[in-house]
Symmetry: C2
Subunit: 391 residues, 2 copies
């Protein structure tokens, strides 16, 4: 097969709020080859990705992502890795390229899986997929009381694990944060797995983080996620020496294999969190999963958008039996819900399964998405460089 | 002062060739505040940067770069650092943002320098600027004979140091590369400082690099630059243990402080090369210079575009007396030459000086640039989001 077309669709809620909710817009990727269609999704700024896909060449290592994808052969798994390497070489100086490649790579696995009649996790090399315990991934309430109610709701819905993040956390006093932690624990119940996400607001300030450790330990948080930005290795490592029973989690900002490896090698993490929609797709995410597994660091998916992205995020570590928990967003905007016809739901034991179906196993319904579609037009010297295609 | 406007100009040669020459296009940044105008330049994909500047918000950590710059106060140096931090926080998930910020940050230093009547290097904290020995930065010839002639030309022009990079190097046999190294040394003469740049074509393949070490040592190369991509720390470190008299240089791909720190801490570099047009501008580049200096790693500018970018690249280490050499591109396309009215030329002793003039000390002549200007237009749902402004 040859890759005949790659179409990018910028979808958005009518109103995008200034909150840490990544499900308010999406960049959907559709790839066509040999009569098959594959779908992917970038966890990224849609317009910046579109520009990186169509931008004119600046020099030999600063080419549009499209230059390394359109017209390429796609017959086996090796072709997908080859295309990724080509994008990384030819678009090395287009910073946005890794995010754009991520959605394209997902769509390639989806498409090849359909052609070969195999789930992506099998093509990635896993003989079987193990169930994962989903944690309900939510924003903190604006008040502890609101957080308490959110925790209770998750527990009532049967979740044995929950993560609270963003919102007011980390921005006020250590006491205000402690009140939120206590509310989260109380809402979730004493046996639940409690995860706390700071959303990088302390940047690299170890003392701000250390001030919160007693409260995190007291409420028995399993992990403290992203106290610092991806790459602040020294800050992470220093905090990991003091965090005791609370393990550190991070890495979602990694946009290539090296960045994830550095987080694993030098940051003292207990959990490496990878967004397949940012790191270069399933191909790179699987390499991270292998690397982490060999070093005793637990791999966890990062996802906060559609179930297409959720399925993609599960594939790279579906076959790792010991890496048992997975992120499961429970506060999605309607756009993110509507991207797929089918949805991944916990089974009666509360476990989530990567689809045992060709490719990513998700059905995209274009008709349902048209109301969210943004019509993007880019012209240079009057010539049309990009126009949102027919969905 | 308040930042009143930030204008981005995509300039390009009529034809862009598929070679490793970054001077074929440019993204020029013009900032206006309080009656002053500052100029900067992104070393980046122009269209992707423009998109990242104007893209609609996706969520609270995925905002357009413009949201953190327009309307901000600009009265002192602290304001520039504050604006950079704001961009990094609010545009954390817009991957392209660091490249875009780089040109904006440059323009802010240029503007504030004019307002305060001080060169940027003085505002950055240096009491004086030391002369740098420029190395003639060139592409390898397609044949050893062509490289020999380029070397002779540089020597005849008075350069005591020269760098050859990209072109065919690293892509053919080790013997073919060795022939090129010998030709470069012969052309430059036996006393010249010879620098070799592989342009990352070996990605992370240590053995490919190791095969070339005997020839590099025999021709007395001072450094081997970018045998691998930025971030391939293990590969760099492993090679550094075997490279003997040939030191490793790298880091130009770093787009934030952390990435540069990792290269300094873990890659075994002798030289850290920073492009102020990629890493987040002068602000971050100066932080890298301080960090490298404290650890005995030599800082070198990376620049392959205009003399506006060249001046900007010198400022962050102008005051470091021991870091003596600087990149000086000698094969610029007319666009890159035309961006500034004045040019930085070596003095009679062959040394280059950061301008002792307000800001970056360079004069941009808009009229001369109009023939290179691309008219970019971006619309979403018919509404104009960006149109190339009046230059």
């Amino acid at each position: 097969m040859k890759i005949e077309s790659v179409d990018l669709f910028y979808l958005s809620m009518p109103e995008v709020l200034d909150i840490g909710d990544g499900s308010q817009d999406a960049l959907l990727v559709r790839v066509a080859a040999g009569g098959y269609v594959g779908w992917g999704e970038c966890e990224a700024s849609p317009l910046a990705c579109i520009a990186s896909f169509v931008t004119p060449m600046s020099h030999s290592a600063c080419k549009p992502v499209s230059a390394s994808v359109l017209g390429q052969s796609l017959n086996d798994v090796a072709d997908i890795y080859r295309i990724g390497d080509l994008v990384r070489a030819q678009s090395q100086d287009v910073l946005q390229a890794d995010h754009t490649l991520s959605g394209v790579d997902m769509a390639l696995w989806d498409l090849l899986g359909q052609r070969l009649g195999e789930p992506a996790w099998k093509l990635l090399g896993y003989p079987r997929a193990y169930p994962k315990l989903p944690y309900a991934s939510m924003l903190f309430g604006d008040t502890p009381q609101e957080t308490l109610l959110k925790g209770r709701k998750a527990r009532a819905a049967g979740y044995r694990a929950a993560k609270f993040g963003w919102g007011p956390i980390g921005l006020e006093s250590a006491q205000a944060d402690a009140d939120q932690f206590v509310a989260a624990r109380e809402g979730l119940g004493k046996d639940g797995i409690l995860l706390i996400d700071i959303g990088t607001v302390w940047r690299a300030d170890v003392e701000k983080a250390a001030l919160r450790l007693p409260a995190l330990q007291a409420c028995r948080a399993t992990w403290l996620e992203e106290p610092f930005v991806s790459g602040a290795l020294t800050a992470y490592h220093s905090l990991s020496q003091r965090s005791g029973s609370v393990k550190l989690a991070g890495g979602e900002g990694s946009h290539n294999l090296y960045m994830a490896q550095h987080m694993i090698d030098y940051a003292g993490l207990g959990y490496i969190q990878i967004d397949a929609g940012r790191i270069g797709g399933l191909s790179v995410a699987k390499q991270v999963a292998d690397y982490a597994h060999a070093r005793g660091v637990t791999y966890v998916n990062h996802t906060f958008t559609s179930h297409l992205a959720l399925s993609a995020s599960l594939q790279p570590y579906a076959g790792l039996q010991e890496d048992t928990i997975c992120e499961y967003p429970v506060e999605l905007k309607s756009l993110a819900v509507d991207i797929t016809e089918n949805h991944l739901l916990p089974d009666s034991d509360g476990y989530l399964h990567a689809p045992d179906a060709p490719g990513l196993g998700m059905t995209v319904n274009p008709a349902k998405l048209r109301p969210y579609l943004k019509d993007v037009e880019i012209r240079i010297d009057g010539a049309l460089l990009y126009r949102t295609p027919e969905l």
